[in-house]
Symmetry: C2
Subunit: 369 residues, 2 copies
């Protein structure tokens, strides 16, 4: 159990805004997994060894968080270059900080072999360039069902970190943002140093043609047409958490703009209640601009970034992160910030824990297998 009483320094357009936790607090980290067939479009996502393999990534990430290895397949998710999933970072932090956590399945192509929260409206997302993202009405169902997690389960806590695993997620996030009227065309990030922005724009633009009659202010219709199961479910959990007066760390990169956009269009007030928690790699990414995205949607939402640096890592796979690979995912940034907030863990403890976890991984040692 983790009691915490601390401060996260988060930056918004007015400068530093402090995110106070002023009473002994309890935290829970939730990781929302789901698939979109958009990730199988060649070159869109490197969150898997091949375009097809990206469909398995969310389930394998979830299994890795719990067991330190994949159960449904032999190997954990890697990029085509062999760089492992950021679930490695997140698991290391969860272990070293003893944080409570759980996975939420909003529509994973594979059912992970773990106990997880399952939404009964779960659905794999379609390929948004050529087909509806979700059957009509599904997004509203997902939102409302996810909201119940905030209403019933999260009552146990004062602060929630909400992360994600969805390959292709920056593309569907772009779809959600532009269909809600936020022109994020040039601003979204990617898991590689070569951000295929042109391709992502073409996919979303093609999808937008399909969705011509979309009202720009309806996030459920927008998400049915151009979104995915994950971001709408994250928004639902946030909505329920806010009803119970929790503080929320929305843990992810530029995709979190899609969650903000959904909440904004539903008129939720987020000031002093929610921050974006991400990584230094996202903030410094020359191919994207998370600060501009957040400012465009809700300038009162601050951004905090965990100061990862793997330059001195003994492992080449981690040093790749400093060359623009991976950057974020499975709540790697926000989970680190949550761990810092506990006051018992330092930045160095976190970096060291990641090195240890990665070392075990490449030596084939895992605590439970």
């Amino acid at each position: 159990m983790v009691g915490m009483k601390g401060v996260i320094e988060a930056y918004n357009s007015d400068g530093i805004r402090k995110f106070f936790i002023t009473k002994p607090s309890r935290a829970l980290a939730l990781y929302i997994i789901g698939s979109t067939k958009s990730s199988t479009i060649p070159r869109i996502s490197i969150a898997g060894a091949t375009p097809q393999a990206t469909m398995f990534t969310p389930a394998l990430d979830a299994e890795y968080l719990v067991y330190g290895r994949a159960l449904s397949m032999k190997e954990i998710p890697i990029t085509p270059e062999g760089i492992p999933t950021p679930a490695v970072l997140t698991r290391a932090i969860l272990n070293v900080s003893n944080l409570p956590f759980f996975v939420v399945d909003s529509g994973s192509y594979l059912e992970p072999k773990i106990p997880k929260i399952t939404l009964s409206s779960r659905n794999i997302g379609g390929r948004i360039d050529i087909e509806q993202a979700l059957p009509e009405g599904t997004s509203e169902k997902l939102f409302n069902e996810a909201r119940i997690i905030g209403r019933t389960l999260l009552k146990c806590c004062d602060i929630a970190t909400i992360g994600e695993s969805i390959p292709g997620g920056t593309t569907t996030a772009l779809g959600i943002m532009v269909s809600l009227g936020y022109e994020a065309w040039d601003l979204i990030s990617s898991a590689g140093p070569q951000n295929p922005l042109d391709l992502k724009r073409r996919v979303v633009a093609k999808g937008l043609e399909r969705c011509k009659d979309l009202p720009t202010k309806d996030p459920f219709k927008a998400n049915d047409c151009l979104g995915d199961p994950v971001h709408i479910s994250m928004a639902g959990i946030v909505a329920g958490a806010l009803e119970n007066d929790l503080k929320v760390i929305l843990a992810g990169g530029t995709q979190m703009g899609a969650v903000l956009a959904i909440l904004k269009r539903l008129n939720f007030k987020l000031e002093d209640k929610l921050i974006i928690g991400t990584t230094r790699w996202i903030i410094e990414d020359p191919t994207s601009d998370i600060i501009k995205i957040v400012k465009m949607i809700d300038e009162k939402v601050p951004i905090a970034a965990f100061d990862y640096n793997f330059s001195d890592s003994p492992y080449e796979g981690l040093r790749y992160y400093e060359k623009g690979f991976v950057k974020e995912g499975v709540g790697a940034g926000g989970t680190a910030l949550l761990a810092l907030l506990s006051g018992k863990i330092s930045r160095d403890d976190i970096i060291k824990a990641v090195y240890n976890e990665y070392g075990n991984l490449i030596r084939g040692e895992s605590p439970e297998g």
Copy 2:
């Protein structure tokens, strides 16, 4: 959010043993649902309007807890006499006390239309008189997977209440207990005033013949043969919760003997960590003996009973409880004890909340529909 600092008076063979919560504590109530085809044997269970209808009861109970109505069918579970499910009691308490809660599906015939924790090893139980309860190896998988809930999610809390919904559960609990060497043949309760003990004994005895070569000390093999998905999963959650130093209220009637028996055969130490939380109706049931069951399995485990009394209820359906109907289920006893422990709710508040909930139910009013 509920902080609690209180005492439950629980009784064991040495007299009163107090169950202390000595620091500001956080609670979570989990309700484990699952089906066993044993409930379709005529006269075994009245937890449904017909023997076949009992298969739907766990999912409908779960939907009722969350929404105050059934979603998958028109009506909530009732006995053949029309007496509604004890989920009505539990929902009333959860609402009035604002307790965090969640449902765990270990093998429900219907998937409830709610967000719930799903075990990937979930399995509907077989009819134990004529077939295996679960495919070989399933019980161990369920136990280990459920244990992870205790290890990851329950870290957020200091105390967990663990309840159940499984029609036919006293019969499968008897199967588990006798196959583990505890002679509970005459001691188990039922949801009706006429306890069909003869029939239950015949069902279990027939099952035992099928399982002749069963080693008496292996709870996984015993449960695969003569059990069900729910009790073994409850035991797994308890095991994980104890690893995180939680206190546990095992919320149920005589069936909880099966959970104790499993934990005992796995050598868990339960003293000062766990109590059985039940209802006065179970303690006073002339057809069963929960005190004898618990003493036989682990005399150091105390029993606490919430002092329900519906004699002065304006509703006939609730007055039936005083004639020996229902008695317990969906954690109705243990959830009331947990609410008392918060120190903000009195016994009378709970009784009144149940009357209100029941009144809304028969008037067809529900908060969300």
